[in-house]
Each structure stands twice: as structure tokens, then as C-alpha cells.
């Protein structure tokens, strides 16, 4: 967003005369057409269908039956599950990720250590998928390395209360595993935008390093931290692949419920429930991203 300004002023002082630009703008507009058509067909249309199909019954008539299903206790429970799973992993991911960013503070941005951490975080943040599920089955599955180690060395049975790793609680650790790297990626720019001059001013005026953090550092970073937290929440809320490959017992979170609705046609005796669930997800995501844009605007103040 902040990068828009210089380009815009440059455009304003452009040397081409208005007449010439006017003459060339019709073919130029045509140049935008292919991309516009592509977006219309594969972004706008699917989104509209996804939302719209929730309002249409099997015979193509308008109905509010499916949307009403969003109030069904089963569906409410799934949305609640998705919400607390996302909240919990976002909070832990944000705190641990912020600590990791703090540890990297002062390392040169182009240095070897930073590029290594950047690349590793990039890989692990994208890792949230089928392969992450495999990783955690190899780690904490019934025959996982940690499971066997705890059993043989300490006599602790991880699964004394059932194979929770294949249920909802089993998703917590894998989700944290991709949340922390995402936090590092999104929060590090804000962290390194802290100006050394502020710390110097603080020290010159008789402040302590601890005072720097409570009076300057944390207040300045708070909006960025909250913005990153919201991104993490959205990320966990929309994640599907890990859960699909890991959770074999039921459909406890919304994306899995959508899968069930798509593949078995009738959930709760209703058709087109997938559309209603998609609508619910979009509403949550829209609220989160709206909040994000508000916070981000506040955060951008200190990053110029």
C-alpha cells in the first residue's frame, strides 16, 4: 500500500499529452480484457456459485433452507471447533513466532542466518498440507518416533485415552507447526522496522532497555502483531489438506464438513449444504480480513 505513492506521483507528472493518451486508451483497455475475462470465469464466477448455491434447492428454486442449516447444532459445533482451533494455534504461533523474531533482531537482513531462516520459514509455512500430516504421523502416530521413545524410555503412553492424534486435538500441533513460520515471515518486517535511533534516544534520555520495550517497542509493534495474528487465524481457519489427510474420525471442522457435503451429497438431510457452509466461511474470512485491513493501516504508520 505504501509503495503506491511514488508511482502515482510519477504517473501524474507523465509527459505524454492528454490527447495522445486518450487516443490510445481504447486499444489499451482491450489489453485488459483477457485477464478480466479470466478473473471473471475462475474467481468471480466460482465465488458467486459457491455462495449462490446455498440459496438454491435441488430443483433450482430459491430457498433459505440451507442457510438456515447454519443454525443447526451440528454445524454450529463445527464452526466453533474451527474457531477455537484457529484461535488457539494463532495465539501460540504468534507468541512463539514473535519471540523467534526478537531473537533475530539485529542480525543483518541480507546475512546468511537471516536468509536461511527466511527460506526455512517459507518452506515450513507452505508445508501445511498432506506432507505435514505424514510428518506428524511419523512423529506422534501410533508407531511414531516420539510415541515409541516416550513408551520405551519413560513408560508414558501418549494414547492411553485413545488415538487423539487422528481427531480434533491431533490437529493442534501440526497447525502450530505451520503457524510459527508464518508468524516469522509476516512479523519480521515490522520487527526490523524498529529504528535504532529510538533505542538511542531512549538511552540518551535516561531510559532503560526494559523501558524501551514497555514504552516504545511493544506499543509500536502491537498493531503489526495483531495484524499478523489475524492472518494466522485466517490461515488456520481456511486450511484443509492437513486435516483431510490426518483426521479420520468424522468432520469436526468446517472445511471437512464441506468435503462431506460435496462428496456424499446429503448432510443433515439437506442438499447444497456445501454452498451454505462456504457462505459461512466467507463471512468469517471477510470479517477477519476487514479487521486486518483496519489494523494494518494503523500498523503501516510506523513502517515508512
Amino acid at each position: 500500500m505504501t509503495t503506491l505513492a511514488p508511482a502515482a506521483t510519477r504517473a501524474g507528472s507523465g509527459s505524454s499529452s492528454p490527447a495522445r493518451r486518450g487516443a490510445s486508451s481504447v486499444p489499451s483497455l482491450l489489453g485488459l480484457a483477457p485477464f478480466a475475462v479470466y478473473l471473471l470465469l475462475f474467481l468471480a464466477l466460482p465465488t458467486l456459485i459457491a455462495i449462490g448455491s446455498g440459496f438454491i434447492d435441488d430443483d433450482g428454486r430459491l430457498t433459505f433452507e440451507n442457510v438456515a442449516a447454519l443454525g443447526d447444532p451440528v454445524i454450529v459445533q463445527t464452526f466453533w471447533n474451527s474457531t477455537w482451533l484457529s484461535l488457539l494455534t494463532a495465539v501460540i504461533g504468534a507468541v512463539v513466532g514473535a519471540l523467534a523474531c526478537y531473537a533475530m533482531l539485529g542480525l543483518p537482513a541480507g546475512g546468511r542466518m537471516r536468509s536461511l531462516v527466511d527460506a526455512a520459514s517459507g518452506v515450513l509455512a507452505q508445508f501445511g498440507g498432506v506432507m505435514l500430516a505424514f510428518a506428524f504421523i511419523a512423529t506422534m502416530g501410533l508407531q511414531g518416533v516420539v510415541t515409541l521413545l516416550l513408551r520405551d524410555a519413560f513408560g508414558i503412553d501418549l494414547f492411553a485415552e485413545g488415538a487423539w492424534i487422528y481427531g480434533l486435538p491431533g490437529l493442534i500441533l501440526p497447525y502450530i507447526y505451520f503457524q510459527v513460520p508464518l508468524m516469522i515471515i509476516t512479523f519480521m518486517p515490522a520487527m526490523s522496522a524498529l529504528k535504532p535511533q529510538w533505542a538511542e534516544a531512549n538511552l540518551t534520555l535516561g531510559g532503560t532497555p526494559f523501558g524501551f520495550w514497555t514504552k516504545i517497542g511493544l506499543p509500536v509493534l502491537a498493531p503489526s502483531f495483531f495484524a499478523s495474528f489475524l492472518l494466522l487465524f485466517a490461515n488456520a481457519f481456511s486450511s484443509y489438506a492437513t486435516a483431510a489427510a490426518l483426521a479420520s474420525q468424522g468432520s469436526q471442522i468446517v472445511p471437512l464438513q464441506i468435503r462431506t457435503a460435496l462428496t456424499s451429497e446429503t448432510v443433515l438431510g439437506r442438499e447444497n449444504l456445501a454452498g451454505a457452509l462456504a457462505l459461512g466461511m466467507i463471512l468469517v474470512m471477510a470479517a477477519v480480513m476487514w479487521l486486518y485491513s483496519l489494523v494494518q493501516r494503523r500498523a503501516a504508520r510506523w513502517q515508512r
Binding site: 505504501t2 508511482a7 502515482a8 510519477r10 504517473a11 507523465g14 505524454s16 489499451s28 489489453g31 479470466y38 478473473l39 470465469l41 475462475f42 474467481l43 464466477l45 466460482p46 456459485i49 459457491a50 512463539v96 519471540l99 523467534a100 531473537a103 533482531l105 539485529g106 542480525l107 543483518p108 527460506a119 526455512a120 520459514s121 517459507g122 518452506v123 515450513l124 507452505q126 508445508f127 498440507g129 498432506v130 510428518a135 506428524f136 504421523i137 507447526y177 513460520p181 515471515i185 509476516t186 518486517p189 526490523s192 524498529l194 529504528k195 535504532p196 533505542a199 532497555p209 490461515n235 481456511s238 484443509y240 483431510a244 472445511p255 464441506i258 468435503r259 460435496l262 462456504a278 480480513m289
Partner: protein, 287 residues
């Protein structure tokens, strides 16, 4: 999802703070946090490696050898088919990024600067629309596509082009912001170049770091995509891994490790591309 996009945005705007600052953590704390976090995150990776080395009694390379044993070719065939499909999808998706997205972005920046804000809003939308939601709407569209273009796997690339849009956009836009494309284009036009020449021979080489990063990120995203392919019943690398995992979990884990290593190398390459871009910008700024 938004990971790579923000990473790219961050890497270009990140100011290098001096190493000696009053608020930076001490050596001990830095190492303590670093070792704790890195150690915890290494556990699943190490576990995967140990898991693939098991052979019932002790440890050996049995499962690694089995992957390349011609006797097992039949068994692992879905993986090679899936990998082939994913690679083909990467090529088509990168083509969409390079030949559809990039020229449109240049056009918007040159001719319609007032549309930039709206354009950015639209191309960043896929971050807030989960793939699982997109699939609900894509299913009927792909029924139509199946009837007109056939059920070939390559058509999935149209959907993937949308999912990589935010990442590709940020990489390319970072390069565009670092380059004075207006002057370059005007100069080339003045010297008699047509628009195709301007795009291919003048602008593309200058935007190379951004175009390269956009392509590499697209490849990484496409190789890891599962949601859309599995729910539209197409075979790619990830769906094949799930299938094979049911008969032979060892091979699935081995291939996951390989994919991780590959993605790591890709991202290091992106970092390099970004840094050469930064150097170029510094060189230009005094003039």
C-alpha cells in the same frame, strides 16, 4: 498461503537495521530462543528421516532402495503419474503468470495507474477466499470444462493460476516498483520499438528477478496443492501421495522429505533472485 506473498513484500521493504542496537537481545538469549525453536521444529523432520530408515529390526536404506527398484514400478506408478501431472500443471500455471498476469500488470502500471489500487485489491482476494470455498464453485464449472475441453489434468491450471495470483502479484509488483518502466517503455517507443518488442526485449529483462520469483513461488504452490485436485477428482503429486501412503507409508514419507528439500532449494533461489533485484535498485537510485 499468504506466507510467500508477505515474505516477498517483506524482503523488498525490509530495512537492514544495524547490528549494534540497544534493544537487540543478548547473545545468550538469542541462542537460547534459537536453539529451542529450531530444535522443536527439527523433531518432525528428524522423525520422518528415522521413520524411512526403519526395516523392522534396525535401520537401513531398504525403503529408499525400494523406491527405485524396477520390481516395484507398478506399485509406485501413481506417484510418477502424479508427479508428471503436477509438473505439467506447474508449466501451464507459470505460463498463465508470465503471459497473462505480467503483461496485464505492466499495462495497468503504464496506462491505468489510477486502477492500481483496485487491481491490487482484486488480485489479493484469493488470500481471503479459502481453496475449499473456491472448490464448491469450481465443481460445476469444471463439469462444463470437462465437456468442452476434456477431462485432462492440465485444465486445473486455470484454478491454480487464481490461487498463485497474490504471491505472483507481489513478486512482480516489487520488481515493477524498483524499475522505472514508464521511462524505459517511452524510450523504446521513441526509438521505434513496437509493443511486443517493448514487452519482451525491454521490460521483461528488467523485471527478471520479479518474474523469476513469481514463477518459482507458483511452482512451489502447485507442487503442494491438494484441496482442489482431490475434490475435483484429478490426480496430482499430493493426491498420489495420499493413495500410496495407504499401502506404503514409508515411500510417502520419503517423497515428502524430497519435496521439502526441493521447496527449500526453490526458496533459497527466490531469495537470491530477490537480492539481485535489490542490488539493481541500489545501483539505479543515485542517477
Amino acid at each position: 498461503m499468504s506466507a510467500a506473498a508477505t515474505r516477498v513484500a517483506g524482503s523488498t521493504s525490509g530495512s537492514s537495521s544495524g547490528a549494534t542496537t540497544g534493544y537487540a537481545p543478548g547473545r545468550g538469549i538469542r541462542w537460547l530462543i534459537g536453539i529451542l525453536v529450531a530444535g522443536t521444529f527439527a523433531i518432525p523432520i528428524v522423525s520422518m528421516v528415522e521413520f524411512t530408515l526403519r526395516d523392522g529390526e534396525g535401520h537401513s536404506l531398504v525403503h529408499w532402495a525400494a523406491l527405485f527398484d524396477p520390481a516395484n514400478a507398478q506399485r509406485y506408478q501413481p506417484i510418477w503419474i502424479g508427479l508428471g501431472n503436477s509438473l505439467a500443471l506447474s508449466v501451464v500455471t507459470v505460463a498463465i503468470v508470465l503471459f497473462l498476469l505480467a503483461p496485464t500488470m505492466i499495462l495497468v502500471n503504464l496506462r491505468f495507474p489510477h486502477l492500481r489500487r483496485m487491481f491490487e485489491f482484486v488480485v489479493l482476494l484469493p488470500i481471503s477466499i479459502p481453496a475449499i470455498v473456491l472448490v464448491v464453485g469450481l465443481a460445476p464449472i469444471y463439469l462444463v470444462i470437462g465437456r468442452s475441453l476434456g477431462t485432462g489434468v492440465w485444465t486445473l491450471a486455470f484454478a491454480y493460476g487464481i490461487t498463485v495470483l497474490p504471491f505472483a502479484y507481489r513478486s512482480i509488483q516489487a520488481s515493477i516498483d524498483a524499475t522505472d518502466i514508464r521511462t524505459l517503455a517511452e524510450a523504446a517507443r521513441t526509438l521505434g520499438a513496437g509493443w511486443p518488442t517493448v514487452l519482451v526485449r525491454v521490460l521483461a529483462p528488467n523485471l527478471r528477478p520479479g518474474l523469476l520469483a513469481a514463477s518459482l513461488i507458483s511452482v512451489a504452490v502447485v507442487l503442494g496443492e491438494y484441496t482442489i485436485a482431490s475434490l475435483l477428482n484429478r490426480q496430482n503429486l499430493q493426491t498420489a501421495l495420499v493413495v500410496v501412503n495407504k499401502q506404503d507409508p514409508y515411500v510417502a514419507v520419503i517423497l515428502s522429505l524430497a519435496a521439502l528439500a526441493f521447496a527449500f532449494v526453490l526458496l533459497i533461489a527466490i531469495g537470491r533472485a530477490g537480492r539481485t533485484g535489490g542490488r539493481q535498485r541500489r545501483k539505479q537510485s543515485p542517477s
